[in-house]
């Protein structure tokens, strides 16, 4: 199973798609089976029936970012309203007791609005593939290299948003607003092959400034007056020329 996961969900082909969050917009996720820590058998779409969901994936055995990420989510989304947070383990080594222990460790096992569960190995691959969730088993560490991603899923099982990694809490709030059904503004980052941008974004500081694209909008009125002036000048010069003998 580990080998299958590693083989199918190789990281490299997904890298570009991970950066392009819009690539996943309105993609429908498969209705995979899930076992909740209460022992109930559910399907993913069943969890979406009553309200939108913020979905995250983790491994109970993760020695990397899973714990700080779950803490980050707990801090920012402690008691969600009008949407639910669903945390599912993708790790085929995890048992239900492992997932329950993780939920208890973060004090979220019985938290209102939080649902913890385990993906069935049979459905895990198709779900992870649809979500663009990169997973690679590192045998030297006996652990998974994997994405840290939060997804907003609507009640029909469509991906509305996808947020990679630790982000500004304001962005996380945007995801929560989106899950509540509010209209949240978003705009694709300009790619490097765009000719004339309206804005330049400094990715280090997050600041932006107007660029040549916007300046281009001044050309038409200037050209208009320049053209009228030139025509006027040409006609005036012609009038001042003496008539040919």
């Amino acid at each position: 199973m580990l080998a299958r996961l590693s083989g199918c969900l190789i990281v490299a082909p997904l890298l570009w798609a991970q950066l392009n969050e819009g690539h996943y917009y309105l993609r429908s996720v498969p209705d995979v089976p899930v076992t909740l820590i209460t022992g109930e058998q559910r399907s993913l779409h069943h969890l979406l029936q009553s309200r939108a969901v913020l979905l995250t994936l983790f491994s109970s055995r993760c020695q990397g970012l899973c714990s700080p990420y779950l803490l980050y989510l707990k801090r920012e989304l402690a008691s969600p309203r009008e949407f639910a947070v669903v945390a599912l383990s993708f790790d085929p080594r995890d048992r239900l007791t492992d997932v329950a222990a993780t939920a208890h460790r973060f004090g979220l096992a019985k938290a209102s609005g939080w649902t913890w569960g385990l993906l069935h190995p049979t459905g895990a691959m198709s779900l992870l593939s649809t979500l663009g969730y990169a997973v690679r088993y590192d045998s030297s560490r006996a652990d998974y290299d994997h994405s840290i991603v939060l997804f907003v899923l609507d009640r029909r099982g469509n991906i509305l948003r996808r947020m990679e990694g630790f982000q500004d809490p304001a962005l996380l709030k945007d995801l929560a607003r989106e899950a509540r059904g509010e209209f949240v503004l978003s705009y694709p980052l300009p790619s490097t092959d765009v000719a004339l941008r309206c804005f330049e974004l400094d990715k280090e500081t997050g600041s932006w400034r107007l660029s040549m694209g916007m300046a281009l909008l001044l050309v038409p009125p200037i050209a208009s007056f320049a053209l009228a002036g030139l025509v006027q000048l040409a006609l005036a010069l012609r009038r001042t020329q003496p008539p040919q003998p």
Partner: protein
Amino acid sequence: MKALDRITAAWIITVTLVFPIAILLGILMRLNQANVLELSPLTFYSFMTAHGLLMVGIWFVMSMAGVSYLLQRYVEVRVWPITFGYVLTLVGVVLLLAAIFGGGFHTGWYFLYPLPFYARTEEWATMAFLLSLGSLGVGWFVWSLGLLVAILRKYPLTRALAWHHLVGKSEPETPPFILISTTTLLGLVPAFVAAVILLGLFFMEYLGGVKQDALLMKNLTFYFGHTLVNEMLYFGIAALYELFPALAGKPPYRTKPFVALAWNLVLVVVWTAYFHHLYMDFVQPTVLQYVGQLASWIAPIPAIAVTAFSVLGTVYRSGIKWWLAPTFFFTGVMFWIIGGLGAILDAIVANNFVLHNTLWVPAHFHTYNLLGNVLFSLGFITWFVREQSGDDGSRLYRPVATLYLLGGAGFVAAFYIAGALSIMRRVDKYPELVANGGVWALVGALFAILVLVAVAIYTVHVVRRCWRVLAAA
């Protein structure tokens, strides 16, 4: 028979023959929305593209043809730029129709980036469309420049813009027709420059694979499209200023300081009014959204107020004989006021959030086009036909005026009501949630059929007489 008469007759024949076809496309779309017809989505959006671009195109060239003809009263007008514009317009329209009906090009008349690269069934359709746009743009630019040069040969720029009237001088007088034509032509040049830049960027991506900034492309598209549509309305107003007083048996209009001020404001402000098309584009710098809101008020209100006041003053106690030409001009101004108010309401940011994607938008632009700008051009055409043939079409007055105005008013009312009910625009079928959209589509289609009947009768009358003008050559 003069060359200018012939080329004007050719424009009239071309436009009045295409007009009923474009109306028919619109009726078929409304019947499809009413579930009376079952068009495929591709067919519907192809019709929508053809209907929008043909309507804008034919009434722009007709309003310009009218101004070109009337301009000879003041300056020497050379015919070759008009003929050049005619030939390139025909080439552009053929390419456009080939792209739409041969290549499945169905972007809608906005052709917003990047739709031209995707909304087509044949890849060549994108190239055909871009070449069509290029042909139309070059033809119209040369034509506009020809008229501008003709004016500037006699009137220095400051005089053509009536700046001396602004400071209270009354002599030498700049006729209102010259003032409006100059501000409109000067307003058009940047729209064409914007189109050239836009086309260049489209070709960069099509031929060189260089991606474009969607915000920049949308700004340029509306710089061109919105300004063009506004300016064609002002050409119609120029014809009205020139012809209406005489039709009412009154002396010609004179350029007063407030008239000069209104049209100079139009010249500058119309370039920035298009920003109201980008209210939904939150990445547009906020200051431009404020500019868009202010310009949307400043650009039309003085022009509407001055024109409406002048026209009402002219009609009052004039004993005017109502026949088709003055009726078209007068009702055109009245509906322009209604459509203008509808547009200004939509151009207020707070309202736009509610109205922007509803049928309120086609409601207001059909009001000031079908019942405004088109009527100004029909007024000119009717007057031209009488000048050339002596026939004022008095037999047609009641049926054509009644069917056109009743049909037009009912047609736009169906749009307004549907818009107020939040029924969305640009869809081929209405979902169940707004199923009453189908009822209003049917009402609109039935009234539009009245317009089509009126136009068919009128077209036969006009084409026969204009054909004689051509045949006399």
